[in-house]
Structures are given as structure tokens and as C-alpha cells.
Symmetry: C3
Subunit: 336 residues, 3 copies
């Protein structure tokens, strides 16, 4: 368990230290659950009612709430951001030691930085490069000629195929696969003929890739994720997709081949985006929508229907299949 | 191939043994396909017509069908449940031998029960605990401080991060990832700032987790699956979700952060449930529904539209986008 | 980088060699991006406008476009198919060397062909068989009694359970799992009782399986993929499904138990198909459709709604829940 003094906590988030700067802080919790050695935070007005009962050592909050707080305050402009920064100081993640585990298999032509930590059973291919302070958890496989930058963290059983590039400070979660073949086939009288996927994958810096996510290599050019993109679990990114800087993609979303997504977009979970589309910057897509046309304008987009009890839903769903006919019936009525 | 006598089969499912108790039974099959050394079962009235032609050694069925059965009967109250119990006696799964394979890498502070079977290339972290009779297939990675109970089975290439707890008799299928980081980021002028995910994952006993499923660790508290939960393949369970006892979740469903699901629910495949919701006990959700509001009452819920030939569907889908306008047209007609 | 002469390229795709047969070709690219040592292709009339500006060494195209081409032409009947064939000659994928890496763990009763290439950290179970020229990338796990044909390629961290059969020339991408338990449970007063999944998986020849895809073993019989089936990433195929020859399934589609899909179907991404259905040959399903009934006729099928700006969508989605009522209102108007 990491420990910090309240003074160090205040300093870390740029707040003035109200209360006893020497008080030992052992963690962060919610207003309701923080104990007397923990920091709480109020980032969402909906939780304001919990403020007056908190037992936290101190609370991170915006200036407007300081008067209501029964314990020392750490006043900041953006409490949620302050919480994010602070959370990293209390990380419970074990720290990997630099060095190469004897069970790892490293190709003779691979270059591994001296400060990198290569876990048990990792395999690193010919001409691959692993940057300074990068950590490979057990079972990671790095293909030939792939390059992982500095300060990256690849969790257990991640696979990078050949010719995949990651920038610096990239995190990839367990069982993710980067560089698998795009789904490209030509039909022929004898069946499907595979199109060799001869491009690679280029991923910028400060990118996060979720567990079980798959990112295909390009057919001719590379598949590209720009800097600062964050991708949740079980997302599928097809060949030659390009995702703009800072775009966030939630779990189980699928993006088909050659689609280009702008910067600063947020794509909710379970979304499908068909191939060869262009999505503008600052587009926001709601959960489980199917995007089947390019989007030129920033804004929010959706498809689907609202939920309902199944019995009620079924009646309406049947009617959906008669909708065009209904429009014609109404037009006929209007003509009368 | 396991073999049992008909007498042993009858005893295993609590039926009286009609027929020759010494007859050797080599397996289970459907009414149509069971041969003279196999047991068949009639669990669904829809298959009743196949009963009179079966060549099975004996048939598991409810009392009401015994008269129609041309071969010996094993009469039970719940034939499907009897089939489930019997199927385990004819399991074709290879039995793992207790012991640690020499290629496994076990941290010095880990504790592995003497009756556990640790397969080739497994990696077990510091202070991890593996219970009695638990089997780790090849390539399983167990993070520091994670605890796996007794009688568990983790299939090949499963990853448990640090601080993950499994109860007893938990099965986890290939490439599943438990304990990956929740998708938590605060936005800042410099881009997304990661929120360290400092909680863990707690999974009860008698739980099954499908292949490729991902279960994220909590941000502050743990993500929790209670006893008896069953989860199919490629399900995504986000941080701080809590799933109640005995709930069943089919393939490719995604549950967003902090949502709480009750006990005894059944959630079909491809469902999406957005974050911070509460779903009551005994709720049933149909395939590919999007649940975007809390559900207080037991019952069945749905969203989406019914399928149709694409040409017909397209006409109606276009009309969907004019629906609000149609309601106003009908109101205008009604006023006339 | 592979290199071929223009003459060899022409011969490989069955075209007559216009231009200098000795010219060295280093790769393939689009009309816009191909440089003077690369081949371009025109497979889609929409790109015709780029033809006259291409700097490619030669262009693969149909006879009708030859007149407009400023550089040597390679005229073929099906330019896309010719591109597919040619792409394989320029494959950038590293070639694996035959032999068994010393870190692989091979059961004494397994049979591995002398020309097979078994990568670092692979594990091959008892009585498993690996065919001629088959390549196992690092971390592949093959269960007991599973059989992999000749000329197959299993990418890193793939898992085959026991009793799984692959034909010849099958490619399986990273982290895919074949042979995991079907999701079969009987309910009992004490909770779910697991049904042992005692069938296997049989996969034909010339099949491709995407990264992170999961294919469950059958309960009694086998799950079957016939020859020439192609499956993209993160597809879920449940127990006892049967998929007909040459059917193509795009990413993130899920097919529930015991459903039979015909030959020559194309199933787009994110589709859900419920259990125990029969889908005819030559059925085409559009993205994110839910197929909940059997389909007897070839043709295209869909469900869902079209996308729209969220504000506009929300108004219509609310109206969807009043649709049945609207039909009754219109009927009442018609009666007047």
C-alpha cells in the first residue's frame, strides 16, 4: 500500500493544504466510504448530499462546495482531474523490475533497452526494438521488426505481429492482438482468395488499448491510431482504419475497414461503423448505434430504438415492419 | 471413453433401473442418433416424435412419456437436469495430473496446493495462492496477490491480473482476462489523464467465465460477481459492476461501469447495458437489446426492430426517421 | 522486401506483359500512391479518375480501361482477383523455419511433421497431430487429441482445446480460442448445473479464423465449419453451430447454439443470430442485424433503424414505443 502525507497529496494536485500536512494518507475513496486516513473527492454535484457526512481525512472539491465540507478541503478547479492525477500515486499495480527473465526468448537481432522489464515467457522477434522502461508482462509476443517505444506497458499474453509500431507511454491490456490480418479476400470460382495484408500498424504515443481488443494491419498502407487515442476492451479496428488524436472508443465497438475517424470523438460501447466512411472531428456516437454513412458535422448521432417491456416492444416491433404502409395510409387520409 | 453400466447411470440420476443393469453404456446422444450402447433423453416435448424410433440403450424421460418408449426408460422428474448430471460422468475432457510442470514459473512467495495441477508455461506471481485440486492449463498467468480457490479450472492462456479473487469451483475459459484496468480517464487540456484502477475483482464460487471474456478491476472498490453466476464467451464487464447470484449472461453482451445487476437474471447475447444503472432481480433481457435505464420490476425487456428482407426493411427504416412528423400529421387529421 | 520482375508479375496473374519484362517490381499500391517500381490496380470504377495520374510501373486493369492508362497495362478479366493473387507474392510476413523450438513442450505421444515449424513456448498435448509445413507461432496451445492439417498457420497465443480438428491450409489469428465449452447449463433448485460439452470442433480446409474469435465445442456432436469458410475477428460461434462452405462472417458477429447457416452466405459485422435457426444458402445479412427467425429464401435481410442526429433520433425513438397505438388511431380515422 502506498502512503503519502496530506501535504504531499495537496502538492501533487496543486491545492493548498488545509489541515495537518503531516497526516498520513493511505488511499482514495468515495465520500461515503473514505475512512479517516483516506482522501475523498466531490466531482459530480449529484453526490453533494454525501459531503456533510464524510469521514475522509480531506476532500478534493471545487471552491463553491468548501463551506459545506466538515473536514479539511483541497480546493481545485477540476476535482475529477485532480482525482485522476492522485489515483496514480496510490496505484496498487506491482512494479516490474528491469531486466530480462531467463525464460523469455529474445531473437539475437532484437534490441531491448537495459531499463526495460521483460517478463517470463515473453518472445521477442528478429529486429524488434523495446524502449527504455517499457514493461512486458508474462507471455507477451512481439513479432519481427516491431517497435515498442519508451515507458510502455504490455500486459500478459498480448500479441504484436510483425511490423507494428507503438509510440511512447502506450498501455496494451491482456490478450489484445495488434497487427492481425485485415479481412480481405477476393471471390473466385474456386472460393475466397486471400489478399495478403502487407501493411502494418502505427500507434502513436499516450495511447491505451483495452483487453481483448484487436487491431488489424493494413492491406497496402498502415492502420493508424494517432496520439492520445484511448480504446476500451474488445474493440475491433479493421485494416486501414485511421483514428484521430484523442478520440475515445468504448468497449465492444467495431470499426470496419478504411474508415477514418476524426480527432476528439467519443464513441460509446457496442457501436458499429461500416467501412470506407469519414467521420468528422468531435463527433459523439451513442451506445450500440450503427453508423452507415459518413458524418461531416460535429455533434451527437444515434440509431436503434428505446427499450421497453418485451410484450409492449413486440407489438411495436411488428408495427415497424408496416411503417411504410402506414405512411401511405395517412397520406390517403390527408387527401380526403 | 468413459464407460458405465446402465445400473450406475440410473443410480447417478436417481432413477429406477429398467432393463439390464449390467449393460455397458458408452455415452449420451439424442433420440435420433443414440446407438444401442448409448443413453438418450427426452427433455423437450417437441422431440417426442423421435421417441418411438430410438435405438438407445435406454431413455431418460418424464413419467408421462414412459408408455411410448420402445426401449428401457429411466424416469425422472426433470430429464434435462438428469442429462446435465449424467453428461459430467461421460466427460471427454482430459484429466490433468497434480503437480507443477517444470516449465512453469512460480514466484517464491506464491502458495500452490499440493493437489493443484499447474500446466506448462504458467506464470504465478508473488503472494498468489492456488487452491486444492485447481487446474491451470498451459500459458495461464496469475498476477501478484491473486487467489484462486479450490477445484477451479483455468483454461489455456487465461490472464488474471493482480488482486483478483476467485472462489471455489470456478471455470475460466481460454484467453479470458480478469482484472484489466477499467476504462477511466479524466479529460484535461493536454488530453486524457488515466485514472489508476486501484480496486480488484472478486468472483464467488461455482462461477463460469467464457472464452475471451474480459472483466475489469474496480477504480476504488472491487468489481464483483456473486456465487453461481454464469458468463458466456466474449462478454465485457466493466469496472465496479456487480452481478447478483445465479445470473446468466450470454455471449458478446457488454455491461458498462458501476451498473448493478440483480440475482436470477438472464441476459441474452449481444445485449448492451449502459453505466450506473440498477437492474432488479429476475429481469430477462432479449438478444441485442440496449438497456439505457434502470429496471425496477422483474420481467422481460427488449429494444430493437424485427428483421425483414433488406428492401422492405429499408423503406421502413427511412420512415422511422419521419415518425415524429407522422404522429403530428395524425394528430392534425384527428382534430379535423 | 520481396522483389519480382514485371514479367514474373504478369505471368503470376496470367496477363500479357506490356512494358519492360525485366523491370524490377518491389510492391503493390493504389493508383495514387504507387511509385515507379510498384504495381497499381484498378478494380473499382470509382477510382478510374486516378488512372491518368498514376506513376505506377504498370496497372492491373480490365480491357475496357487500357486506353486511358498512361503506363504499361496488365489486362485481366478480374483485376481484384489478380491483385489478391499478386499480393501473396509480395507478402511481408516473416517465414518460419521448420523445426521445434527448444522452449516448446511437446507431449511424448504427439506427432509433429518434420517440416512443421513449432515456435517458442508452444504446448502440444497427448496424441495431438501437426501436419506438414504447418506453422505454430509462439505461445500456441494444442489440446490432447487435436489434429491440425498441412500448411496451416496458427498465430501467437491461439488456443485449441482437446478434440479439435483443422483441415489443411487453415489460418487462425492471435488469441482465438477453438473448442471452449458451449454455454450449456440446466437450472436446478441449487443453481445452474453444467452440461459437459463432450463434442468437439471440426473445421474444414482453406478456412480463416480471425483474432480473438471463439468457437465452442459441441455438447453431443461437433461444431462444424465447412471448407472455405472465412471468419473475421471477435466472432462468437456457439456449440453445435454448422456453417456452410464458403460462407463469410465479418467481425463481432455472434451465432447462438445449434444454428445452421448455409453455403455462400455473407454475414456483415456485429450481426446476432439466435439459436436453433436454419439459414438458407446465399443469404446476405447487413451489419448489426438481429436474425431471430429461420430464413428459407436467399436474399438480403436486415433489422435496426437508420442513424440520425441524436436529438432527432430521440424524438422518433420515443414515438416507436407508441407505434401500435398510432396504428389503432389511424384505423379509427379510416373508419370515420
Amino acid at each position: 500500500m502506498p502512503e503519502l502525507t496530506l501535504g504531499a497529496v495537496a502538492q501533487a494536485i496543486g491545492a493548498e493544504c488545509a489541515g495537518d500536512a503531516a497526516c498520513v494518507i493511505t488511499g482514495i475513496h468515495t465520500l461515503q466510504q473514505a475512512g479517516p486516513s483516506e482522501i475523498a473527492f466531490l466531482a459530480n454535484g449529484a453526490y453533494r448530499r454525501h459531503l456533510k457526512e464524510t469521514r475522509a481525512a480531506a476532500v478534493i472539491l471545487a471552491a463553491g462546495f468548501a463551506d459545506e465540507c466538515p473536514v479539511p478541503c483541497l480546493v481545485v478547479a477540476n476535482p475529477y482531474l485532480a482525482y485522476a492525477r492522485l489515483s496514480q500515486l496510490f496505484s496498487t499495480m506491482p512494479v516490474a523490475k528491469a531486466g530480462i527473465h531467463p525464460s523469455a526468448v529474445i531473437a539475437p537481432t532484437a534490441r531491448v533497452a537495459a531499463t526495460a522489464a521483460i517478463g517470463p515467457r515473453c518472445v521477442i522477434g528478429e529486429h524488434a526494438v523495446i524502449g527504455e522502461r517499457t514493461v512486458l508482462q508474462p507471455g507477451v509476443v512481439i513479432g519481427d521488426r516491431s517497435r515498442v517505444g519508451a515507458g510502455c506497458l504490455l500486459h500478459a499474453n498480448v500479441t504484436l505481429y510483425h511490423d507494428v509500431q507503438l509510440g511512447d507511454r502506450v498501455t496494451v491490456h491482456g490478450s489484445a492482438v495488434i497487427g492481425s490480418d485485415g479481412f480481405g479476400f477476393a471471390s473466385s470460382p474456386e472460393g475466397w482468395v486471400k489478399i495478403a495484408q502487407n501493411g502494418g500498424v502505427r500507434i502513436g504515443s499516450d495511447v491505451e488499448i483495452g483487453a481483448g481488443t484487436t487491431i488489424d494491419r493494413g492491406a497496402l498502407d498502415d492502420t493508424v491510431l494517432e496520439d492520445g487515442v484511448i480504446v476500451d476492451n474488445q474493440v475491433q479496428i479493421a485494416h486501414n482504419v485511421r483514428i484521430g488524436q484523442g478520440t475515445a472508443i468504448a468497449g465492444c465497438t467495431a470499426i470496419a475497414g478504411s474508415t477514418r475517424i476524426g480527432k476528439g470523438c467519443t464513441i460509446a460501447g457496442g457501436v458499429g461503423i461500416t467501412g470506407h466512411l469519414t467521420i468528422a472531428d468531435n463527433v459523439h456516437i451513442t451506445a450500440m448505434s450503427l453508423i452507415s454513412k459518413s458524418i461531416d458535422e460535429p455533434g451527437a448521432y444515434s440509431s436503434g430504438t428505446a427499450m421497453a417491456p418485451t410484450q409492449e416492444w413486440r407489438k411495436n416491433a411488428v408495427r415497424f415492419l408496416q411503417l411504410d404502409q402506414l405512411f401511405r395510409r395517412v397520406s390517403a387520409l390527408e387527401k380526403k
